[in-house]
């Protein structure tokens, strides 16, 4: 209850900020010769609710990015990411109506369909760990995007390390 109120407040603030920015930044006034005047204004872009949801959830959970990274060709959760999963588990247990999608990803090398298999293993490892932490099965869905949604562009080891990941997104904050 408290969280959803906090949430609505944040949404209001976000909308207000968006409105302000479209007034101050996107407006463009042009003077033309002979006293005539033409005024053009940007209409702003549509707010991106998906991402603002991620951003809001990250804020609520007190984490920067709701992502678990994996080593090359591995689907083992490193100790560094256990606290992040525990934070999600605590929230999900407190909010039984909350629903998450766990998306497993692979780096772009090799076969796309085989990478779908690798991504699914990573997504399921995250699901299993959250399940061990007490999260109900019906709160979690998994999907593998394989190498179809690279996190960053580039073909070096850093880019690959960013691609091998499990992303947790909230479909419903509960």
């Amino acid at each position: 209850m408290k969280a959803s109120l906090k949430w609505a407040m944040m949404l209001l603030i976000a909308v207000a900020l968006a409105a302000c920015s479209s007034k101050s930044d996107d407006k463009n006034t042009t003077s033309v010769v002979g006293g005539d005047q033409a005024t053009s204004a940007g209409v702003g872009s549509n707010p991106d609710f998906d991402d603002s949801m991620d951003a809001r959830m990250a804020k609520i959970l007190g984490i920067e990015k709701n992502t678990v990274y994996f080593d090359f060709d591995r689907d083992v959760i490193k100790a560094d990411y256990v606290p992040l999963l525990q934070t999600n588990a605590d929230y999900l247990k407190k909010h039984p109506k909350a629903r998450i999608l766990i998306a497993g990803n692979a780096d772009p090398r090799g076969s796309r369909e085989y990478n779908i298999g690798l991504g699914q293993r990573r997504a399921d490892v995250v699901r299993q760990r959250l399940s061990m932490m007490g999260v109900a099965a019906n709160q979690m869905r998994t999907v593998s995007y394989g190498s179809e949604k690279p996190a960053v562009s580039g073909n070096d080891d850093y880019a690959y390390s960013q691609d091998r990941r499990g992303d947790i997104t909230y479909d419903n904050a509960g």
């Binding site: 872009s45 991106d48 991402d51 999608l101 772009p108 090398r109 090799g110 076969s111 796309r112 369909e113 085989y114 779908i116 298999g117 690798l118 699914q120 293993r121 399921d124 869905r141 998994t142 999907v143 593998s144 995007y145 394989g146 179809e148 949604k149 562009s153 580039g154 073909n155």
Partner: protein, 449 residues
């Protein structure tokens, strides 16, 4: 079929010939297509194509240009640059044999494209033998006449290329076939988000049109054997589903939407079923077939490894697939009668994306990893040898042409994915015209039905 004796044109050094070819393709009108001879000497047929268009003989859309492009593309012809032709004849009796004899050409194509005024173009084409001709006039090998809508002259040029190719090599050409592939572009007003399109284009990259556009990934297009529909994976609901789309009408049909992975659709040779990879709510995908008439599902593999990328044998009695049941991805073959699976590849720690090379029952094309990275290779089932065809190292999604001569793939060029083609003997490598954004997951169509 003919035999090719050495002649002057062929005796030019390889370097000079490559340079000539490169200069030819550096011309702005053809800059989009980038052909490189990657290794060795190619046994090519020296040929010239005189302009067809009487009024504008050097225009970029002249049918002769399109035919020249096609034949060069195949890697089996060496087309003489137009500016080196001693004459630009439209009729056989206008040819001065003395002017052509010394050029070292085997064949000459002449033609005439004339608008009839009613939105149609009349096209005449003559294929002449210069090399075997003993008389003062060249021997006519073939003559064809067509009347087509003006909008169809490009398609007709591809058809003429097919006819010439078949006459001179004895094999069917693939110049009238098409490619399906996926493009990925940043959304104009929100570059963090992507737009995925399933495209269909002529095999030379022209006439690209979207069959489906989505804000979520599209994967693994595969053509039905009659070329009438394409199966693919779409994540438009955020979760993967397999659809087929009718190529002519765009009409879609949902085929598979089970829990978990729905991937890697492959039409059977009779077009009646799809082999797919399904995880059925578990972690690892297994191979199934779906009967497109009855919807009946048959499970072929059943283990806790990744089993994916089914690809049918030409007789429809067995399938190749990729599995990591042995610890790393390798190619296996499963017999549909006994459901016995047998490992096929042992060379290299990573083999995937296998397909029988059309026209051969013993060769398969695949994605092979070695110390140079991921490349296209041909594995010979009989001799057990692996021949790597490309050198790029970040290559994927091989798909062979219906005549087995070329393999289209996706490669990384300067951080972007582009389509390329390599001949199945490894001697010719072609980069297809650029698209905006990334181009990936190509699938070569069957012959036009």
């Amino acid at each position: 079929m003919r035999k090719y004796a050495p002649n002057k044109f062929r005796s030019l050094t390889v370097a000079a010939r490559c340079l000539a070819l490169m200069l030819f393709f550096c011309k702005p009108a053809l800059a989009a297509l980038d052909i490189e001879i990657t290794r060795g000497v190619v046994r090519t047929i020296p040929i010239a194509i005189a302009p067809f268009d009487v009024s504008n003989p050097n225009g970029p859309n002249d049918m002769a240009r399109i035919i020249a492009n096609d034949l060069n593309h195949s890697g089996q012809f060496q087309v003489m640059p137009q500016n080196r032709l001693p004459q630009q004849p439209h009729d056989a009796d206008a040819i001065s044999s003395d002017l052509w004899k010394t050029l070292g050409l085997d064949d000459l194509v002449i033609g005439r494209a004339v608008p009839t005024g009613s939105g149609q173009t009349k096209v005449d084409m003559t294929l002449l033998d210069l090399f075997h001709s003993t008389q003062s006039t060249p021997t006519i090998l073939m003559q064809r006449s067509y009347t087509v809508a003006n909008s169809q002259t490009r398609a007709l040029a591809h058809h003429i290329s097919d006819v010439i190719y078949e006459k001179l090599t004895g094999e069917k050409g693939v110049f009238s076939t098409r490619l399906a592939y996926v493009t990925v572009q940043p959304m104009p007003n929100n570059p963090r988000h992507k737009l995925y399109s399933l495209m269909v284009a002529d095999v030379d990259g022209h006439n690209a049109k979207p069959l489906l556009t989505s804000t979520q990934p599209i994967m693994s297009p595969d053509w039905s054997p009659d070329g009438g529909s394409i199966a693919y994976v779409s994540f438009e609901t955020k979760l993967p589903q397999i659809f087929t789309s009718d190529v002519a009408t765009g009409r879609r049909r949902l085929i598979s939407s089970f829990a978990g992975i729905n991937g890697a659709p492959a039409f059977s040779p009779d077009g009646r079923s799809l082999a797919v990879a399904l995880s059925m709510g578990r972690t690892n995908p297994n191979i199934y077939t779906i009967d497109l008439g009855s919807g009946r599902l048959t499970q072929l593999t059943n283990d806790a490894a990744i089993n994916t990328e089914p690809s049918w044998a030409p007789d429809g009695q067995s399938l190749l697939f990729t599995s990591d049941r042995g610890g790393a991805p390798q190619i296996y073959r499963i017999d549909l009668g006994s459901l016995q699976a047998q490992r096929i590849t042992y060379i290299g720690a990573y083999n995937a994306s296998a397909a029988y090379l059309p026209g051969s029952s013993t060769k398969i094309s695949l994605l092979h990893r070695d110390d140079r990275g991921f490349n296209i290779a041909i594995y010979d089932l009989q001799s057990g040898t692996m021949q790597t065809l490309t050198q790029g190292g970040s290559i994927e999604s091989p798909s062979p042409a219906p005549n087995g001569r070329m393999i289209v793939y996706s490669t990384n060029v300067g951080g972007r994915r582009m389509l390329g083609m390599v001949s199945s003997n490894g001697q010719v490598n072609i980069r297809l015209p650029e698209v905006s954004g990334d181009a990936q997951a190509p699938a070569w169509s069957p012959y036009k039905g």
